[in-house]
Symmetry: C2
């Protein structure tokens, strides 16, 4: 199946870790560039929370680190994002609020079928991703050490920390406090809940200093209230509430330590990584703080951390700030050259 | 007027900065110790958000920094806190959602009438306070430089920063997303909104590391979910929603720069302070980060900052952690000895 914008891999009878079955699961993806003859130039670049393949395109293009003249870049869409299988696009019995919990490992397994089955790729030159994309990157490196030559997680971590989970609990509680949500059986979207969700998110997405310096002006907004409505509320207003909750569930349950065979031991899971790993936390990220990746790197052989300096907080990884984008682009080049 | 627990100063025809009139405004307070003959041992210790005079008592007592055998400690309750005039206890036309916006300066003016009128105190040995109590402390030092010998704001700032305002917007949006709130005209409390408010607050109240280290176990909780419900939800569940919103309004509008005569210039406002000022920000406070007080101290003559180390975040100032409590107690002693 295809559309002008992306392709879809249908996975019949796809059994989730929970035991629930998506029949089929639909994994949407887009590729950039051409796979070379010996299939050694493939890069996998999973998406973040509430983004789709377009959100990664700032790092892909001629003259950029992921140059499609050199690399074959595969961008798979996260389950729940409204493009891959999601509450909003799945028929009964798994529609809407009945959509099952999908783990990061479920995403990785579907992506593995895409990479190996559709493209016949046995080894990825690089897996990289931002935020929930970083959660997937670490999981790839743990689940398929033989397949991942390099890993570059940015603004993310190998597990969702307890504080990060509390942040997610706040988002969920805000969204579902709106009675219009109705346990996920809404007809009309829960507008007040989505607005609350957006305003809660606003405080976490950028750093304290970003707001002090009124750096939102660089994004074209004239006032703080204008930024809260025109950027944050607009960003989530069109999103399906059940889709957001499905992605939050995936996020909240992310932990490489729960990979089968790792016995819940994060050190063991990270110690099994063989990829050359370069992690890029953002200096003032409020929910994936640098400490997360610094701690993780201790247990990864040769694991390197480069903190992205600056005040853009978690959205450092979004590509909207040219200085941060250049930092990330340079790091990807460095890792690919090793 | 009095009760077994606290006294109340009635202020007839109390005109707020907004022009609205509380007739009377009721300022609840409690005192500890005795005023000495020359009235030089008075300490003013305003309360924080969603707390009352009891919340300050950990720092008051024989052998503590604020020893009632030596000092006369006056603890005035913040307007909106449900003890002083608040939406929940004010008759029409200013009841419930019709309660007017009360500024920090309105609080300070009422407290000034208490200090000078009721007690005949012309100079305070110390004004101190945590969080919204710190906002009031800075305002006292700016509004009445002749009356404040020493100021010790902790876990607070002279103005609510833009990021802090975004945090407040998230709290407000979460609380009011519940249709049961009904524009403040609820009969039954908006339980889902209060729950969301609590869960959003949970991520901000303590640091990321506090949750990593499961430091909530020190507070007697057995699991993270237990902590979210037993500590956070329980803390706000009994609060009146309009009272919470009234205090948030006060908090959000706090800024010493808007003091009459300061022309919106925070440097000028801080430069007018003559109190010996010692600010204690908490190292990992997520909404009053140390940068706020460090920046402020630059403009206060002799302004000193001591960062409270540790992982308790904003609630470092709450007195529940013995190490932090000892740090604050020692700083208060040091300042009082100067």
């Amino acid at each position: 199946m295809s559309s002008p914008d992306h392709e879809v891999l249908e996975l019949p009878g796809f059994v989730l870790e929970s035991g629930a079955v998506l029949d089929p699961a639909r994994l949407a993806y887009r590729t950039y560039g051409e796979l070379n003859a010996d299939r050694t130039n493939a890069v996998l670049f999973p998406t973040w929370f509430a983004g789709d393949h377009h959100a990664n395109e700032w790092l892909i293009g001629p003259g950029r680190a992921l140059d499609p003249r050199e690399y074959f870049v595969i961008v798979p869409n996260l389950f729940g994002n409204g493009v891959s299988s999601s509450p909003s696009n799945t028929p009964p019995p798994h529609d809407a609020a009945a959509f099952p919990g999908v783990t990061v490992r479920d995403n990785v397994r579907a992506q593995h079928l895409l990479v190996t089955g559709t493209f016949g790729v046995e080894r990825l030159a690089l897996v990289l991703g931002c935020s929930m994309g970083a959660l997937q990157t670490y999981q790839w490196a743990v689940s398929h050490p033989d397949m991942v030559a390099r890993a570059l997680p940015y603004c993310g971590a190998p597990a969702t920390s307890p504080h990060n989970q509390v942040f997610i609990e706040g988002l969920r509680a805000a969204l579902t406090a709106d009675a219009a949500f109705d346990g996920g059986r809404y007809g009309t979207p829960p507008a007040a809940g989505l607005r609350a969700f957006s305003r809660v998110y606003a405080g976490w997405g950028f750093s304290q200093a970003f707001y002090w310096e009124e750096t939102w002006r660089q994004l074209g907004f004239a006032s703080l209230e204008d930024f809260l409505t025109g950027f944050w509320e607009a960003n989530f207003a069109g999103y399906d509430a059940n889709d957001l909750l499905a992605m939050l569930w995936t996020w909240q349950h992310a932990d490489v330590a729960t990979t089968p065979g790792m016995d819940g031991d994060v050190k063991r899971a990270l110690g099994s990584i063989t990829a050359r790993t370069l992690a890029l936390p953002a200096e003032k990220d409020l929910y994936f703080p640098p400490e997360d990746e610094v701690r993780a790197a201790r247990y990864i052989r040769g694991g390197e951390v480069r903190v992205i300096p600056g005040i853009w907080g978690h959205l450092t990884g979004g590509g909207a700030n040219p200085v941060d984008a250049a930092f990330i682009d340079a790091a990807v080049r460095d890792l690919l050259s090793e």
